[in-house]
C-alpha cells in the first residue's frame, strides 16, 4: 500500500543522505531488513495516532535542528564516581581517551563499529530483533531507522553478578551533531548488572537499546538525560524478560526542547518483574520544553509484575506527555500490572497530556492505572511557610516531594540520593 504523500516525502527526504554504514559483517542483514521495513512504514507524521501529542518534525528532519551544548563548567555530570568503568561517546563518536576504568569481572564489552567482522553470534541474533518484535502492534519507524543506520554502540555481555555499575557518558559538544547509537545488552541466566547512562548524546540523538534478560537475571538501568535546553532526544529501550528476571529502569530528564523516550517491555518467561519509571522537570521560561514518555508493556507469561511510575513537573508553558499501555495476552494469568502517571503543573500555561491504556485478554489478573494532574498543595505550602521556609524554597521542597515516589523506584539508594541532590540543586538555582 502506498504511503500518504506527506509521509512518503518526509521519509524520502530523510533517507536521501543516509547510508548503511557497513558493507559486510554480522549486522548487515539486520540493517538491510530494518531499512526495508522503514521504507514500508514511513516516518512518523503528526496525524499518526502514536504521535498525536508529540510533533515528530524535528526528529525526522533530514538535518538535526541546531542545539547549543550545555556549558560544561555549569555542572558536573552525575555518577562520575559510581562507575567501575566509564565509556564516553562525544557527539556519538566513541572517545577512547576519555573512557577509563577497568571492566569488572563478569562483563565483556565491545563496540558495534569495530566488531563487525568478529563472530558474535548472540549479537547478530539480537540486533534489530527486539526492535522488529516491538513494531507490532504499534509501529516505531524511528527505531527501525536506528537499526539500519546506527554508526556505533556498545555490545555488553554479562556473564556474572557485577557489583559495580558500568557508566556510559554522553558528551554533546557540537551544535549540529546527530548521533544514531544502538546498544545491545545481554544478561546470561542468574547474572546482574547496573547500567548508568548520563548526558545528552548530541544536538539530536536517536538511540536504541535492546536488552535481553535471561532467566533469574537482573538489570538496573538508570539514566540522567542531562538538561541541555535545545536538544532533541529520541530513545527506545526494548527489553525482553526471561523467567524470574528483573528489569528496573529509571530516567531523569531536565528540560530539553524535545524528548521522546519509548520503553517496550515484553515478558516471555513466568514470574518476572519490570519496573519502568521516570521523573522530568520542564521549565519553559527560556526555551520550549516538550517531554514524552511512551511505554508499552506486553504480558505473555504467568504471574509477571509490571509497574510504570512517571512524574512530571511543568512550568512556563512546558508540555508533558505520557502514553502508557499494558497489554495482557490471553494466557498471561495472574498478571500484576500497575501504571501511574502524574503531573504537577506550576502555572496555568503548562500542560500534561496522558493516554493510559489497558488491554486485557486474560481473566485472572490485577491491573490498575491512574493519571493525575494537579497544582501545588496549598495546605502543604502554608505548613512549610508557617515554619519559616520561604515560598520558593517551600515550592522546591514540594516538587521534590512530588517526584520522590518515582525516585524511590531506583533500588540503589546512593544513586537515588545523588539524583535527588541534583534535582534539589537545579531547583535551587531557580529559587529567588
Amino acid at each position: 500500500m502506498a504511503l500518504p504523500k506527506a509521509k512518503q516525502d518526509a521519509t524520502d527526504a530523510r533517507l536521501a543522505d543516509l547510508e548503511i554504514p557497513v558493507s559486510g559483517g554480522w549486522s548487515l542483514a539486520a540493517r538491510q531488513d530494518a531499512a526495508e521495513r522503514l521504507v514500508q512504514m514511513g516516518l512518523p507524521q503528526p496525524r499518526d495516532e502514536y504521535w498525536r501529542f508529540t510533533r515528530p518534525k524535528d526528529l525526522i528532519a533530514p538535518e538535526a535542528p541546531a542545539a547549543a551544548p550545555m556549558d560544561e563548567s555549569d555542572e558536573n555530570p552525575v555518577f562520575s564516581d559510581k562507575g567501575a568503568c566509564t565509556l564516553v561517546f562525544r557527539d556519538g563518536v566513541f572517545d577512547a581517551d576519555a573512557s577509563d576504568g577497568d571492566l569488572p569481572a563478569g562483563v565483556a564489552i565491545t563496540r558495534l563499529a569495530v566488531s563487525q567482522d568478529n563472530d558474535i553470534d548472540w549479537a547478530s541474533a539480537l540486533y534489530g530483533k527486539l526492535e522488529l518484535e516491538g513494531q507490532t502492534p504499534v509501529q516505531r519507524p524511528l527505531a527501525a531507522l536506528n537499526t539500519a543506520f546506527a554508526t556505533d554502540g556498545l555490545i555488553i555481555d554479562v556473564t556474572d553478578k557485577v557489583e559495580t555499575p558500568i557508566l556510559i557518558r554522553y558528551v554533546h559538544e557540537r551544535d549540529d551533531s546527530d548521533p544514531v547509537l544502538h546498544h545491545l545488552v545481554r544478561l546470561h541466566a542468574d547474572t546482574e548488572l547496573t547500567l548508568l547512562e548520563v548526558g545528552a548524546p548530541g544536538a539530536r540523538c536517536n538511540t536504541v537499546m535492546e536488552v535481553d534478560v535471561a532467566n533469574d537475571a537482573t538489570l538496573h538501568h538508570v539514566r540522567d538525560q542531562g538538561r541541555n535546553h535545545d536538544r532533541r532526544t529520541n530513545t527506545h529501550a526494548f527489553a525482553k524478560l526471561g523467567a524470574r528476571s528483573t528489569y528496573k529502569s529509571f530516567t531523569l530528564s531536565l528540560n530539553g526542547a524535545l524528548s521522546r523516550n519509548e520503553q517496550i517491555v515484553s515478558f516471555t518467561g513466568d514470574d518476572a518483574v519490570a519496573h519502568v519509571a521516570g521523573a522530568a522537570i520542564g521549565d519553559g521560561k527560556n526555551d520550549p520544553v516538550h517531554h514524552d514518555d511512551t511505554v508499552f508493556v506486553t504480558h505473555d507469561a504467568l504471574r509477571c509484575e509490571s509497574r510504570q511510575v512517571f512524574k512530571k513537573v511543568l512550568k512556563n508553558g512546558a508540555v508533558g506527555v505520557f502514553q502508557g499501555k499494558i497489554l495482557v495476552k490471553k494466557d498471561a494469568q495472574k498478571t500484576d500490572g500497575y501504571q501511574i502517571s502524574q503531573s504537577l503543573l506550576l502555572d496555568d500555561d503548562s500542560q500534561f497530556l496522558a493516554k493510559p491504556e489497558l488491554e486485557i485478554y486474560a481473566d485472572d489478573v490485577a491491573c490498575s492505572h491512574g493519571s493525575t494532574t494537579g497544582a501545588i498543595d496549598e495546605d502543604a505550602l502554608f505548613y512549610l511557610r508557617s515554619r519559616g521556609v520561604p515560598k520558593p524554597r517551600a515550592e522546591d521542597l514540594l516538587v521534590l516531594s512530588f517526584l520522590a515516589e518515582a525516585l524511590q523506584e531506583i533500588e540503589d539508594e546512593t544513586l537515588a540520593d545523588e539524583l535527588n541532590e541534583r534535582l534539589a540543586a537545579w531547583l535551587g538555582r531557580h529559587a529567588v
Binding site: 502543604a380 502554608f382 511557610r385 515554619r387 520561604p390 521534590l400 525516585l407
Partner: protein
C-alpha cells in the same frame, strides 16, 4: 510587655464573603499562657490561621501586632521569623521530605531571615536528638518523611518538637489535644510546659478543660460568634467544663 495585641479584628472568608471574626480584641502579655475556648464555629481556628498568615482570609478591619510590629501584611515565613508559631490541629503530611531536612531547612531559613548564622549539621543533630528524646520521638520518626504514617499522637508530638527547635516567641496551639489519649496529651503538655518562660507567650485553643489541667493558663477567654465574649482566670474553664457554653453565652449576650 505585650507580646500579641489584637484590636477590633474583622475577618471574612475570601471566597464566600462570609464574616467569621467580628471584632476580636485580645492582648497576650509576654510570659503568659492564654486559653481560648468556645463552641464549634466560633472563629477560634480562623483566628489562628489569620495570625499565622494563611491565604483565603480577608482582614476587613482591625490590627494585630507581635511585639508592637504589625504582622498582618507579612508573609507566613516572615511571621515565623518574627517569632510566630502555629501548632496545627491537622499537621500536614509531606511525602518525600525527611523530617530532619524539613526541620533544618526551617530553622536555618528563620535564622537567615533574622540575620543570624546558620546552625551547623553537628549542632543541629545534637539539638534535635536531645529535644526529640524529651518528647519520646525516636530516630525512625525523625528520619521518616514529615508526618507520613505518623499516628495522631505522633503528629502532635512532632508539632511540639518543631516548636522546641524553632523556639518561637508566640506559640499558638490549635486544638492540640484533639485526637490524643490521656498519655499522649500529658506528653504534649510536658513539652509545652518545658517551653514556658518569661520571654514567650502561648495561646492555647481548645474545646475542653482537660488540656488546661496539664497546661495551666493564666487567662481564659471564651469566644463566640467571632468575638471574645468573656475573659477570666482558670476558673472560667472549669465553669465551661461543668455547665457547658450555654449559660456563659447567655450571660455574655
Amino acid at each position: 510587655m505585650t507580646m500579641l495585641e489584637i484590636k477590633n479584628l474583622h475577618v471574612e472568608l475570601e471566597e464566600e464573603n462570609k464574616k467569621i471574626l467580628k471584632g476580636v480584641d485580645l492582648t497576650v502579655e509576654t510570659g503568659k499562657v492564654h486559653a481560648i475556648m468556645g463552641p464549634n464555629g466560633s472563629g477560634k481556628s480562623t483566628l489562628s490561621y489569620v495570625l499565622s498568615g494563611r491565604d483565603g482570609y480577608e482582614v476587613t478591619d482591625g490590627s494585630a501586632t507581635l511585639e508592637g510590629e504589625d504582622i498582618l501584611d507579612m508573609d507566613p515565613e516572615e511571621r515565623a521569623a518574627a517569632g510566630m508559631f502555629l501548632a496545627f490541629q491537622y499537621p500536614v503530611e509531606i511525602p518525600g521530605v525527611g523530617n530532619m531536612t524539613f526541620l533544618r531547612t526551617a530553622l536555618n531559613a528563620q535564622r537567615k531571615a533574622r540575620g543570624e548564622p546558620e546552625v551547623s549539621s553537628a549542632d543541629f543533630l545534637k539539638m534535635v536528638r536531645a529535644k526529640a528524646k524529651d518528647l519520646q520521638i525516636d530516630a525512625d520518626m525523625l528520619k521518616r518523611p514529615v508526618n507520613v504514617g505518623f499516628s495522631g499522637g505522633e503528629k502532635k508530638r512532632n508539632e511540639i518538637l518543631q516548636m522546641a527547635m524553632l523556639e518561637p516567641k508566640m506559640c499558638i496551639l490549635d486544638e492540640t489535644d484533639s485526637g490524643l489519649d490521656v498519655d499522649a496529651m500529658k506528653l504534649v503538655a510536658q513539652g509545652v510546659n518545658a517551653l514556658r518562660d518569661e520571654g514567650r507567650a502561648f495561646l492555647v485553643i481548645t474545646h475542653y478543660q482537660r488540656l488546661l489541667d496539664h497546661i495551666r493558663p493564666d487567662v481564659v477567654h471564651i469566644m463566640s460568634d467571632g468575638r471574645i465574649v468573656k475573659t477570666g482566670g482558670p476558673e472560667l474553664a472549669l465553669e465551661v467544663e461543668k455547665n457547658g457554653y450555654g449559660d456563659l453565652l447567655a450571660e455574655g449576650a
